[in-house]
């Protein structure tokens, strides 16, 4: 199983997998994520969460696109981080704002990972991406 590139490809592959392979796919996506330099994993880039930590560092590009460096110490969470980045990475801020990230992620909602009352890591990451995009698009 090799990590597919586009979000839609990932979703199509995901649909055909059984539960255990879905986890494997997410873990693999996380492993294939662009590494986030350790020096960037600070309290300033840490997203509020409980048991799994998530770090996000937005890097606005001169042409108005947004690049993100992100990571998590939990594998499944990191896979979801990778999924989110597959949606938003290097896109113009206005495009990111127009996306309903939560809705696009719904098919991947394994064991309620994305519900806001569980761990705030992923929902807070989505909020941070939207806030950054809103600031840049303004």
């Amino acid at each position: 199983m090799s990590a597919p590139q586009s979000f839609d490809d990932i979703r199509d592959e995901f649909e055909f997998l059984d539960r255990e392979d879905r986890y494997r796919l997410l873990i693999e996506l996380g492993r294939a994520l662009e590494p986030m330099p350790e020096a960037l994993k600070t309290d300033a880039t840490k997203v509020r969460g409980c048991s799994a930590q998530v770090w996000v560092y937005p890097v606005p590009q001169p042409d108005g696109r947004l690049h993100f460096l992100a990571d998590s110490d939990a594998h499944i969470t990191k896979g979801i981080v990778a999924l989110i980045l597959a949606l938003v990475q290097d896109r113009p801020a206005a495009d990111i704002l127009a996306l309903d990230i939560r809705e696009r992620l719904a098919p991947f909602d394994l064991a309620g990972q994305l519900s806001s009352n569980r761990t705030q890591g992923i929902p807070n990451m989505i909020e941070l991406i939207r806030a950054t995009a809103a600031r840049l698009a303004a």
Partner: protein, 404 residues
Amino acid sequence: MNAPAAILPATFDRRGDFPAIKGWSYLDSAATAQKPQVVIDAITRAYATDYATVHRGVYARSASMTEAYEAARERVARFIGAASPDEIVFVRGATEAINLVAQSWGRRLQPGDRILISALEHHSNIVPWQLLRDRAGIEIDVAPLTEDHRIDLDALEALLTPRTRLVSIAHVSNVLGSIADVARVAKAAHAVGAKLLVDGCQAAPRLAVDVQALGCDFYTFSGHKLYGPTGIGVLWAYGDVLADMPPWHGGGAMIETVSFARTTYAPPPARFEAGTPHIVGALGLAAAIDYVESIGLERIARHEEALGRAARDMLRSFNSIRLFGPEDSAGIVSFAMDGVHPHDIGTILDEAGIAIRAGHHCAQPLMETLGVPATARASFGIYNIDEDVGRLAAGIEKIVRIFG
């Protein structure tokens, strides 16, 4: 015919008492316990047909509610072996109890006085003392752990000084399940003139507690971990200790007379129960105590110890798993898996209908001591059965397969 205790099975099946359990392997009782129907019924009755305020009304309903509220206090006193119900202060939970002691009893402390805690304490037994330190200039000492993750009592004794005014430790660790030898700590603390506060949150639901036999000076636990409601807990201290403590929250019910020039305060426990108390919480807690005592704390302890031991043996069979805490832990098992974050473990187990806790368990300094950012924790309660350990094993096997 009664079978001798020795050949009774170690575990029992009380799932039917708990409407929330139905096929769910709930292994997070150390965070909060599920409620038996008898507790839910007591709460419903208290709000539905019996409800009125306490200590104030001239009407019969209020008088009977006051009696029930005070009977709950007596129930708690008997449960922990207190000499008098006047030694029982109802609080929101153990967190509030420890803050009460820090804010009220702690007012007498002078700069340079010391408080001794341990490396395995919950944040609720760390932060209130840090707040006091910031205000009063006291020092906090921390007793280390032994290799098998108990409080190192030799080291603790060596840290006692004539300036140590209070030792404050968990009776049972919420992360490791290790049981502290409270009687030994009490003796050592008293030898230097210090008092001993014991956080009994994880002990009260699992061990028979007798505060006088333990020899401590303060004991506290939360109702919700004892199969009772949230928002109700208990602080116990000897009557003369409480009588010597100033109030910390002002308001109704805690006063004797009020004038703008001068207010005099009620004797304890009323002195520490400002405002309308959590009446229904107290009644629910009494029902929970009736429930656990109907089974028997010794039986519950044996049940959870058997499940905890089975879980430890099962987890040990996986090469990638590291266990924390001593072998004789009280129904609480913390572990870590090589290359798998506890959050991943919790996520995959949840899908299999198994609820564990993943995280730092409000004990970040302990995580540092253990050298991990977080642990996975399975904790057992009355409603767990042997099969839950089997399901946990199947869940762990699945994780091993996924992470390969």
